[in-house]
Symmetry: C2
């Protein structure tokens, strides 16, 4: 899994940061968290294609999180995308897409819009699920948690053969964790022929939010937490007033959730050098990085 930060600015763009968007490459599929203005250009810069299997998760309908969608759909049209596109987001998302499509023209490929009405799993796929919990920002705003299913451990047929387990039903039982008894009385243990199952990765994305207990709880032990950190601690009042988080607050959430790594994003334009944010967060949660546009992280279970 590769996490590519396409846009990392808070509210308005800067010399180095475009509006919020994160792309996750997972096998042949793309998963987006938010799609701010300029996402399609950053996709070109990151050499991410426009025809892949794609699911997008939009945290909320503020311009800096969603205004990349119209242009992206237009470019997908121009490139004659045929694959369906799945977009999940808050109530109003359908109206937003219909509004600009009525003037600019709609997508010429199947577009499936899923408006999130309540907390819980919003996508359950063969390989991963995505859960939404309410953020503490303008209502409705959603946080997202992507969790890969555990992958079954690798089966070693040569070991089963050496132990004279006949192919078929018994192999199947061994692969699913059962020990089996052969006709000659020998017991073959599953763990001798199947490696332990490999756990899946877990990525938690806060969207825009005040520090949230719901998000903390659901992010427990995530491999990666991506949390907004619009302000530093000296502007804690402003963070509260605008329903954003400080760097310190984001670090406290990461620590409480026991995640492996924290990446701060949605950085206000007042920090051309975000060193103060990094220092503040690391004093609480050392495994912190600041996102930069086009920064890429490879995650391994």
């Amino acid at each position: 899994m590769e996490v590519i930060f396409l846009g990392t600015s808070g509210s308005m763009p800067t010399q180095r940061r475009g509006a919020s968007a994160i792309a996750i490459k997972r096998g042949r599929e793309l998963i987006f968290f938010d799609c701010g203005e300029g996402t399609q250009r950053r996709m070109v810069e990151a050499r991410i294609g426009f025809r892949r299997r794609t699911r997008m998760f939009i945290s909320h309908l503020h311009g800096d999180h969603v205004l990349g969608l119209p242009g992206l759909l237009q470019t997908m049209n121009l490139l004659q995308r045929e694959r369906p596109l799945y977009v999940y987001g808050p109530q109003g998302l359908t109206e937003f897409i219909e509004a600009f499509s009525s003037v600019l023209g709609g997508p010429s490929f199947p577009l499936h819009v899923h408006e999130i009405l309540s907390e819980g799993k919003i996508y359950e796929g063969p390989e991963y699920d995505v859960t939404a919990v309410r953020a503490d920002h303008d209502d409705p705003t959603w946080c997202f948690i992507l969790e890969e299913h555990p992958r079954p451990g690798r089966f070693h047929p040569e070991v089963a053969q050496a132990q004279r387990v006949p192919e078929g039903r018994l192999w199947h039982r061994l692969q699913h964790g059962e020990d089996v008894r052969l006709d000659n009385g020998t017991v073959v243990r599953s763990e001798d022929v199947v490696e332990p199952s490999r756990r899946g990765l877990k990525v938690a994305y806060s969207g825009d939010t005040r520090p949230s207990k719901a998000f903390t709880d659901v992010s427990e032990c995530a491999d990666l937490m991506i949390h907004e950190a619009t302000f530093d601690d000296s502007l804690a009042d402003k963070a509260e007033e605008n329903a954003h988080s400080t760097s310190r607050e984001a670090a406290e959430v990461a620590k409480a959730a026991g995640v492996k790594m924290l990446v701060l994003t949605h950085i206000s334009s007042r920090y051309p050098d975000p060193g103060v944010l990094l220092e503040e967060a690391r004093s609480i949660f050392p495994e912190t990085m600041i996102a930069e546009d086009l920064m890429s992280l490879k995650l391994e279970p």
Copy 2:
């Protein structure tokens, strides 16, 4: 007058080119031709402010010419712009702005939208006018011509005084080009006390179009013609089919109009090196350049 090319791509963005937008700095005022996705970010990069007196001219409602407007309005809101913003463009522009404003929220400063219904002068100001003529592209698409008024020549009061012209009515007549006879019979010629009037600059912008006689005529002797050149001559059929121009065609328009300089823009993503377009145009009209994002031209009368 400084012309800054903010976005120069054809239809979809590339590594180096964002969607169409041109900003003209003229004194304290900004004049835009088109506002594609990413315009606000390029404005930050070009250090163009968001609070200036601004008039925007939108050629047509294709995404790559107008999708920067929603985000730009949002950023102007955030920065608490108070000055009115004037936007001119094709029928449907009001509906487009209302459509996204109904979901994202509208501007908190006065926004004046002028839909262009027929050819002719669409803005007549104290210092310059803007004329619209129909482009030959998806209807409605407009080309724009900005023409500064001629500036009166500088009056030299010390010369009038030396020639004993009494201040008042006679000075006024001299300043307006009349020769005057003094009481002593002396004739003082206007040209002896007033420098020749300085002509204004003229800039012609094609938007997206096939080569157009109307645009050629109205661009006569422009200081700068900005013409789209989506394709090279080997793709002339494709240019015709998609109602765009080739580099050769743009150069022929510039030559026929007798302009001083031609800048080609709206460059297709198939030309990471636009050398072929430049060579083709220069063989017909040597004073040609290819626009690049953030390229700036200073124009003097």
